[in-house]
Symmetry: C2
Subunit: 359 residues, 2 copies
């Protein structure tokens, strides 16, 4: 049996609170059995106990830490930091800080989760202003990690390289890819394309001796193709790419549904093809890939979508468990250390810099 | 009958040259009849004449300007500018400069088209380094114009406002929207979200008195929802959003095809639903929305996809004709003029600047 591990959960987070959080544990156990994972549930004890009973889960699977205090879904991050102490979200993260729990999962307010995680756990990557969020993106070849998808609005070259380091370790820990390939998102694949930040990040990834399997620049359509395992981008572009893709997937899904219910003939066709269409939509089901780790913190924090189903919340728990049981933290720590050394060295003279210095 | 108009075409551009260009004219005429549009074809006269005969088109529809010289699809923009004079691409654009033709369409090398258009026609918007490319994006509610999707890697606030002005006039001229709404692409809809450039652009659009119907910030998923008629973004983000969306659409299309051919039952279902599925895919067919104008030039230049079908090339011709017959150029000119005035004025003191100046 794998090593025992305690996962801390914000039981009050998300649009539904305890029913989805405890229901998520039930779903997790359906898939992964009694694999030595126990849970610390933070929130309203009565509501939590009621859900544990409803789901028929064994009591010794849980510790429950009662609090009445909840950070609401629309609380501003600054307010949450000032007034959030003692809330279910705060306590859930604190259990990681003290070492009691190996990771935390919350479906709560993203801004508050980010701000309080940063306050309590601190950043492990020196250049990062905010944790990076990684999306597990379904592709033709499986799953690609895309980061940052929302936290860091502007990212310099060093941050982009930090994302590469974290994304690589994430793909190994969570998706079992032995030697993930890394690409930098750009408007073309040629070396001279894009702005200064992406070009400098590419140089560092190519020459920095960070031991990453760097592929080169990739374009937007390379994400769904699965050209690389890790796609690195600033949080502004990443967030827009992710939401644009979600919008397009929903739009096409809606068109397909409309088409397949537009006539009796089409409905009959859809009925015949039902099993095949269902298998297909499972491949791009947002719940199956729910769970975006906040990377770059001294501790494992996983954000679940606020509107996730129990099944989706279970998927987010799985990511937290995989990260907690892997050597993710030490591996990232070592590579970030190496990056710091590289950044402190003056760049090796190459054709470009030689030309500049001779002018 | 609408006013006569001459459209200049680079007959050698694209992956296929004359068969698609002349074939595109045939497709255009199938849809729009003899609507007073004539064509100036630039390129290899023998090849062009052969296609005219093959398509059974009347000779008096055309002027043919022979040249042996062609800018290849992989020529670098700088080389194309130096050596491109007298090529089919160059001559096609020059006919707009001299006033002989009302617009030019090319399926050729994008970088070369952009560079030579800029060299010959010059920019009309003072802040623009390069023409902006606008994509007509199929949405739940029809079509949304997204720009810039690729030419300007970094865009300041004034450029984003120029995109708004050009996108608005484009939606009216080409898609017949009387009073298009405009949104700025961002990572959230609240005023304080995003980086300096988008926030300042939003302020100018809100307060600049440019007579635009400004909606506010929109997010990635608002594009496919059709929340606004015009989505404004820098060329880096826009290019990545567009290609990401194309990748996702292709991926889902592939999954759907796989699902509907995965078993005999599914195949039977697909056969029954065939007509409905076909109508649906027509709505997101890239050929139906082919044709991205290069905006911001003193003249109308439309880029067709290099791999477009004759049908797709015909759609690009339609865009050129609509722009040429509208008041697009004068409308944009007047608003750009007003923007220049606004930018030269010191900003009105509001709460923020008052606070800053009192410190």
């Amino acid at each position: 049996m794998p090593s025992p591990v305690l996962i801390s959960l914000d039981a009050m987070g998300g649009d539904h609170g305890p029913p989805v959080v405890v229901g998520g544990i039930a779903e997790y156990r359906k898939r992964h059995g009694g694999d030595g994972v126990r849970f610390l549930l933070n929130g309203d004890e009565a509501a939590i106990r009621a859900e544990i009973t409803r789901c028929g889960l064994p009591d010794d699977l849980f510790e429950v830490r009662h609090t009445d205090k909840v950070v609401s879904m629309d609380e501003k991050p600054a307010t949450a930091m000032r007034r959030g102490k003692g809330s279910s979200l705060w306590n859930a993260i604190e259990a990681v800080k003290t070492g009691e729990a190996a990771a935390v999962v919350s479906a709560g307010n993203t801004g508050a989760l980010m701000a309080i995680s940063k306050l309590i756990l601190r950043m492990s990557a020196p250049g990062l202003e905010r944790p990076a969020i990684v999306a597990s993106w379904p592709t033709k070849r499986g799953v690609t990690a895309v980061l940052d998808v929302g936290a860091n609005v502007e990212s310099d070259a060093a941050q982009l390289v930090e994302f590469a380091i974290m994304g690589e370790a994430f793909m190994t820990a969570v998706h079992g890819v032995a030697r993930p390939t890394v690409g930098v998102l750009n408007v073309g694949s040629e070396d001279m394309k894009g702005h200064e930040e992406v070009r400098e990040a590419a140089r560092l990834l190519r020459e920095g001796g960070l031991g990453l399997s760097y592929h080169g620049f990739v374009e937007g359509d390379d994400i769904a193709k699965g050209t690389v395992d890790v796609v690195v981008t600033d949080g502004f572009t990443g967030n827009i790419a992710l939401k644009t893709a979600e919008g397009v997937a929903k739009f096409i899904g809606g068109l397909t549904r409309d088409a397949l219910t537009s006539s009796l003939l089409a409905k009959a066709g859809a009925a015949l093809a039902y099993a095949a269409l269902k298998r297909m939509s499972a491949r791009i089901d947002p719940n199956a890939i729910n769970g975006g780790p906040l990377l770059g913190l001294n501790g494992i924090v996983v954000k679940s979508h606020g509107g996730a189903t129990p099944d989706g919340f279970g998927a987010a728990i799985r990511i937290a468990v995989d990260l907690a049981r892997s050597d993710y933290m030490t591996k990232v720590g070592a590579k970030l250390q190496r990056l710091t050394t590289v950044l402190e060295q003056p760049p090796a003279p190459d054709a470009d810099t030689a030309k500049e210095s001779s002018q």
